[in-house]
Amino acid sequence: MDFETFLWTTFGAFCTLAIFSFLYKDNPFYKFAEHLMVGTATGYFSVLLWHNSLYPNLFAKLADGNWYMLWLNSSAPWYLIPGLLGLLMWTRFSKQYSWMSRWPMALYIGISAGLAIPLEMSNRVNKQLYAMMSDISWGNFFGSGLFDPISGLSQVIILVGAIAALAYFFFSKAHTGAFGGLAKFGIWILMIGFGASFGYTVMARISLFIERVQFLNRSWIQVAFDSSNTNHHSGYIIAFLVVAMAILAYIVREIVAHLKKSENIS
């Protein structure tokens, strides 16, 4: 790794440690990294939206290359409409005309809502209902080769469990009597499902932390002390030490403050 890349990596490592310091408590390092992230990321994604979305989807269609000549040469003049609607959003800068920004907002929400109705009905209701209709292999219960009550029973539980959990979501029926029992079974199924999903995710989350530890170790600490860095060898170590000392200084300060506080109390 060349020295320049190493300096960048050191900055990345500093940001990494600054974010981790949040686990102890809110502190200046975290605040710095947080505000840096908000600024940089907003700038980054805004530019990306311009280059990948607004320019090709609007200006390129209206202007054939020269965005400042958008009233000329347009290959798709009907794209003036969304352009104007977009401009209407800017009426929000004025108090008097800000009501006009409701038009594009209404369009946005109307189109989205209309899009969702058949799509969500199909994807979430029709397709799940189709999947619920299962051919339960009763043969598994009653002889015929392998006796496998678990898999037969499992299919029944999937069907009945889903029905019970749906019953739990009934809003206009009190959870009493037999229906209450069904709804209760439903919430049990929901809770078991939630617990299992939670437990299953732990592994992936731990992996995320391992990946960060690997980054700090392989890409930063090991590089800093790599003796094959003949050029600027001391530079690598100094850069490393600057970050390490800053963090150490903060820890010492915290400990001293803590000790003083407990002295005052006693």
Binding site: I19, K31, M105, P118, N126, L129, Y130, F170, S172
Partner: protein, 422 residues
């Protein structure tokens, strides 16, 4: 933006298909190589495909022909000699025929289509007579047997998608059900709804914030204004903001998406007007943070620990940040109420928040908070729809199992009625 995603993936699939057409699938072996000939067992020409049919593809926008056939007799027998089928196309029965793609052995259908109008090279014009032929090809590409030519056939676009009829039925059924209950609600029918824990907590939590003199943090999540869960969250925000205005507590609404911010500003402003306190509304209650997922989380976490809100409300679309937000909120000692339709995130909210609206409860929340008869009427429609789903599922399972027991196929026929294709 799911529909967009689907469109994009469909498009890329089509593009891939058009690439497939220009690229011969298997390179020609070096048949002149002497060792090669020695080690390759000789291949006899395979039988051709039979019953080749070409039809306009159903339920589409046109520019597409679907072919179907019976596989060659040499397909799949032992170390099958047929490895692929190459599809040839021409606009005249005499040819010349061009290869337009290939299908793997065992396949019995192929769709000849063009990706897009703009893709001039692959453009397949509608209402043009077309003829097709299929070669059964062995692993050695030079040994192949052509089928007879079929045609003419024309492609065209349809005005109704037959495969989506079950969705049309479901939407119509649900729409009518909703209208029926809305009408009843308008007429003043008394509609019961059972109490919901998370909803009752909202009022309590706002009261608590007022007592403590601390703000309320409302997080609309990572959705855009095109997500229905975010739209549902707007209406909940409206109710919450109205109470907040009445109690004269401070409200913080940091946003991830600029349109969501604009809509949320309108919502909160209207709520303050409703509460009769338009002057208490401040522009800086609803503001934009960043459109980066983890930048947003980092900043909201900072707000929680610095401004120590009494209550955090999370409603809308949440991804991995659900637990990051909820745990930090718990650390700050805030009461937390959450609701999301993102199934994978519900467990984390359930574990880390005081109250969680699970899935559909999020959509019911605005009706609960508003207590307007019209909104309650739509809850009733939802319940009846759920009952219909349960009944259909039971009937389907019953039909399948009874029919299977008597070796009949009508169970499957019943099930297929519910299938959405295309």
């Amino acid at each position: 933006m799911k529909p967009l995603l689907i469109t994009v993936s469909l498009l890329s699939l089509m593009t891939a298909a058009s690439f497939a057409q220009s690229d011969p699938p298997v390179e020609q072996p070096m048949a002149t190589d002497s060792t090669m000939v020695a080690s390759t067992p000789s291949i006899t020409p395979p039988a051709p495909v039979s019953s080749l049919e070409a039809k306009d593809s159903p339920d589409d926008h046109g520019h597409s022909i679907t072919l179907s056939w019976e596989p060659s007799a040499d397909d799949g027998a032992g170390a099958a000699t047929v490895t692929s089928y190459v599809i040839y196309h021409s606009t005249s029965p005499e040819g010349p025929f061009d290869s337009v793609g290939s299908a793997i052995s065992g396949a019995t259908t192929f769709t000849h289509s063009s990706a897009k109008e703009s893709d001039a090279a692959g453009f397949l014009a509608d209402y043009v007579d077309r003829y097709y032929r299929i070669d059964a090809v062995t692993a050695d590409q030079t040994i192949r047997t052509p089928s007879s030519v079929v045609g003419p056939v024309q492609s065209s676009g349809q005005w109704y998608n037959d495969g989506r009829t079950p969705v049309a039925v479901a939407v119509a059924f649900f729409g009518l059900l909703s209208l029926f209950f809305l009408k009843r609600a308008k007429a003043g029918a008394d509609l019961y709804v059972r109490p919901l824990g998370g909803i009752e907590a909202v009022d309590e939590a706002i009261g608590r914030a007022t007592e403590m003199g601390k703000p309320i943090l409302y997080v609309l999540g990572l959705g855009t204004a095109s997500d229905i869960s975010t739209i549902a969250s707007f209406t909940i925000l409206g109710r919450v903001a109205k109470r907040v205005a009445e109690y004269q507590t401070h409200l913080i609404v940091p946003c991830y998406d600029p349109i969501v911010m604009a809509v949320a500003q309108e919502t909160v402003k209207a709520a303050y007007m409703d509460a009769g306190r338009p002057d208490d509304y401040k522009e800086d209650m609803v503001y934009f943070l960043t459109n980066s997922q983890f930048g947003y989380v980092g900043a909201v976490n900072g707000i929680m620990l610095r401004q120590l809100p009494a209550t955090n409300v999370y409603m809308g679309k949440f991804y991995a940040e659900s637990l990051l937000l909820a745990e930090t909120g718990a650390l700050a000692g805030s009461i937390q109420i959450s609701g999301t339709d993102e199934v994978a995130q519900i467990p984390f909210f359930v574990v880390a928040c005081d109250y969680t609206l699970i899935g559909e409860e999020l959509y019911a929340a605005s009706a609960y908070l508003g207590r307007e008869p019209l909104l309650l009427g739509s809850l009733k429609a939802q319940d009846y729809a759920k009952a219909a789903v349960i009944i259909c599922a039971l009937l389907g399972a019953l039909a399948l199992n009874i029919a299977a027991a008597s070796n009949a196929t009508w169970g499957l026929t019943f099930k297929e009625f519910f299938k959405v294709t295309n």
